[in-house]
């Protein structure tokens, strides 16, 4: 990030040093707003999660249902992230590199998941792959695979939501890439696979990773898209967010807050990791 230079300004414009009340007011307002909106909720999550004592907390998060929900959340998000990193990078490459009919539409469509309500996403997936639909029945009869009300549906919903993250993160990197490097590699006799592995991949890896991790962090808390697709079956398709929802609805706030502590901690760790990666890349 570039720093503006307010010092220079005050030196050239105001001769007498004085307290800048307007600037102080702006800063105080902004920081108060951020503190109330973000720090306070975080504080609430951690204190109400641990208020009943460590033992209660431990019991609440080691309930079979809670453990299952957390594991399911992590695995579905991880599978989505891997597929997303592969397909998102391919999409970015194709959009930057090739000229073809419909490319503008494809490029525009990638932001669709940001525009469409997540609950509508879930409903659309149920209507496409649900047990009563043609496709759903086909998968059921041919391979005995259920998509809706199973973890596959959860991964599908997350793939839909996560699509923009990797693509939009890698796309500018491909745009900036100097085409001479891979060409030099070809000229020297390297195969396309070798060139990809040794020349292109190291170049795009940081962007792939930050995009993938952002999508992962976003997926951990997803509720709207999952609640219809997964069907809220404990120990089968219940993710952490859906579990917390159920506990809140059932009036069991202490259990909800205990699992929230774990989920929020994981999300915060991933965010910190992304920030660390971004800082390291911008210095490199």
């Amino acid at each position: 990030m570039q720093l503006a230079t307010p010092l220079k300004k005050s030196a050239t414009i105001k001769a007498t040093p004085q307290v800048d009340y307007a600037a102080w007011g702006l800063r105080a307002t902004a920081l108060t707003y951020l503190s109330i909106m973000i720090l306070l909720p975080l504080y609430v999550v951690f204190t109400s999660g641990l208020r009943e004592g460590i033992e209660f907390f431990w019991n609440a998060v080691t309930q079979a249902q809670a453990i299952f929900a957390l594991k399911l959340t992590l695995t579905t998000a991880a599978i989505m992230t891997l597929i997303n990193m592969l397909m998102g990078t391919l999409t970015a490459y194709v959009i930057v590199r090739y000229r073809f009919w419909g490319k503008v539409i494809l490029d525009a469509m990638i932001d669709l998941p940001f525009a469409i309500p997540t609950l509508v996403t879930g409903l659309m997936l149920v209507l496409l792959y649900g047990p009563q639909t043609t496709l759903g029945a086909f998968f059921k009869d041919t391979w005995d695979i259920r998509i809706i009300f199973s973890p596959i549906g959860i991964v599908l919903a997350l793939l839909f939501l996560g699509f923009p993250f990797v693509t939009r993160s890698v796309q500018p990197i491909f745009e900036q890439m100097d085409v001479h490097q891979p060409e030099a590699s070809y000229t020297l006799g390297a195969s396309s696979w070798y060139t990809f592995r040794r020349v292109i991949f190291p170049y795009i890896r940081p962007a792939m990773l930050t995009g993938g991790l952002l999508g992962f962090a976003r997926a951990l808390g997803e509720f709207g898209a999952i609640v219809l697709v997964a069907g809220n079956i404990p120990l089968k398709t219940q993710t952490a967010a859906v579990y917390i929802y159920g506990q809140v609805e059932g009036g069991n706030l202490p259990a909800a807050s205990a699992v929230s502590v774990i989920l929020v901690s994981i999300s915060l760790l991933v965010t910190l990791l992304v920030e660390w990666l971004q800082r390291r890349n911008s210095h490199a």
Partner: protein
């Protein structure tokens, strides 16, 4: 990397794989929704949208989105300004705070509202849990990063020359902000606001938990869809989903127009 036409089998296959994947993932579900909604006549669809409870839910969504966009615009601009232009202790810390709403589960946000403003909450003298005010508050929370993250890089990349020229010519700080800086920020601000709008029109989890999903009081458009599915009012749910879907495609178009404008401006 320069663009080239598809001139090899490998390139052709790559394009086909990507286009096929995107169609399957993004277009397939949309077609399924359109198909299902239009299994009833258009008259039926319109009829179910103009039901009193559907209209009530829609207007709640519109009102909350309206106030969210205004709050996000004003305070987002302010926060972006302070984070870019002011140097102060803890600036990096506050800067990282901004991304947190992206990764906190909406359900947890809603539940925090109950802990804070519920009948037994920390601030029980402000009993706004299970009211539209709580829904507005959580919607502002989940949309908080959009404007800030769009405006900050543009603000940071502005050169000081024009601004300093304005000062030198005797303009006040407010005047030079309004006439010199704000016009440069406008495209990014608009883009951020459109993202906020899209998110607030579709917010479900946080709004449902914080508002309690009370029919006729705190039921927004997405909660209406959820309830209709439970009540076996399928056509009601599909019609509302279709309407929200159409609105989001309009928003998507708007996003692309704004982005094209922004890149032309640079």
């Amino acid at each position: 990397m320069p663009e080239k036409s598809v001139n090899s089998l490998g390139g052709f296959l790559l394009v086909m794989v990507v286009v096929g994947y995107a169609c399957l993932l993004l277009i397939g579900p949309i077609i399924a929704l359109i198909n299902e909604a239009f299994s009833e006549s258009i008259g039926q669809i319109i009829h179910s949208i103009i039901q009193a409870d559907a209209l009530e839910a829609l207007s709640l969504t519109v009102v909350i989105s309206f106030f969210t966009v205004i709050i996000d615009g004003v305070l987002g601009l302010l926060v972006a300004w302070v984070l870019v232009r002011h140097k102060f202790w803890g600036r990096d810390f506050f800067n990282s705070l901004v991304d947190i709403p992206f990764v906190i589960s909406p359900v947890i946000v809603g539940y925090v509202m109950i802990v804070l403003f519920g009948r037994l909450g920390w601030f029980k003298f402000i009993p706004i849990a299970f009211t539209p005010y709580a829904m507005l508050l959580v919607t502002v929370f989940v949309t908080l990063p959009f404007v800030i993250r769009e405006v900050m890089p543009v603000l940071a990349s502005l050169s000081n020359e024009q601004e300093e020229a304005a000062y030198t010519l005797g303009a006040s700080r407010w005047y030079s902000f309004r006439r010199v800086i704000f016009p440069a920020l406008r495209p990014a601000l608009m883009y951020g606001l459109v993202l906020s709008l899209a998110r607030s029109l579709g917010e479900f989890g946080a709004a449902a938990v914080a508002g309690g999903a009370i029919q006729g009081a705190t039921e927004n458009a997405t909660i209406y869809i959820f309830r209709s599915l439970h009540d076996r009012n399928d056509i009601g749910a599909y019609s509302m989903a279709l309407l929200l879907g159409i609105i989001s495609i309009v928003i998507l178009l708007l996003m692309n127009i704004l982005k094209a404008k922004e890149s032309k401006g640079n």
